[in-house]
């Protein structure tokens, strides 16, 4: 159900361009439904997941 993928931004420039990655880390959730820039505490990531894809 959950896919957590690290992507080397320089090696996969097509992906980086698709999401306009300009600083790292940058977390793209479900192809852009959600976004978290920077290394954030777990609670912030969870809040963005809830915002982007709903409570459940």
């Amino acid at each position: 159900m959950v896919l957590a993928e690290g992507v080397e931004a320089m090696e996969f420039q097509d992906l980086s361009q698709e999401y306009n990655i300009s600083s790292v880390p940058d977390t793209v959730i479900n192809a852009g439904a959600g976004r978290v820039i920077g290394a954030v505490p777990e609670g912030n990531l969870l809040a963005e997941l809830i915002r982007a894809i709903g409570k459940k």
Binding site: V2, G6, E8, M10, F12, T27, G43, L46, L49
Partner: protein, 149 residues
């Protein structure tokens, strides 16, 4: 062939693995013959890393030659793709944890941490996050873009 890991790094990582690895981990590397300058160094690096602990093993797959396996592991054409899976005896469990690219620089420590995390069989997440993930009814895909520097 000249090693990618120096003796001193190899010995440090071996010590860390000895102290921190618990259960076996299988690393699957998906490579491609097509335009993949990163595939060869990644394979060599992973071979050197798994040699540092009996708990670690590696299998290397060509994503074009083994399309069914690539689909099973949700590998979509980007190579190199490194899957860090749990191994219990002959059984391999994909936990959805992967890295695309050469794990060099800072990403080398991320690789080591990922191996330790999967080996411990515990995400370390808060109860709130665990509950949320348990309740998911649709797939969740998180892509964390990183650079080695």
């Amino acid at each position: 062939m000249e090693k990618l890991l120096s003796d001193s790094i190899a010995s440090q990582v071996r010590d860390v693995f000895k102290k921190q690895l618990k259960e076996p981990v299988r690393v699957l590397l998906f490579v491609s013959k097509d335009n993949c300058p990163g595939c060869e160094p990644t394979q060599q690096l992973l071979e050197e890393v798994v040699a540092l602990s009996d708990q670690l093993s590696l299998s290397v797959h060509d994503m074009e030659a083994e399309p069914d396996l690539a689909t099973l592991y949700r590998v979509s054409g980007n190579a190199p793709a490194i899957i860090i899976a749990a191994r219990d005896g002959e059984r391999i469990s994909d936990l959805g944890i992967r890295y695309l690219g050469i794990p060099s620089g800072h990403e080398f420590s991320t690789l080591i941490q990922d191996l330790i995390l999967v080996s411990g069989r515990d995400s370390g997440l808060t109860p709130q996050a665990r509950n949320y993930i348990k309740g998911l009814t649709k797939p969740l895909h998180m892509q964390v873009f990183v650079t080695p520097t």
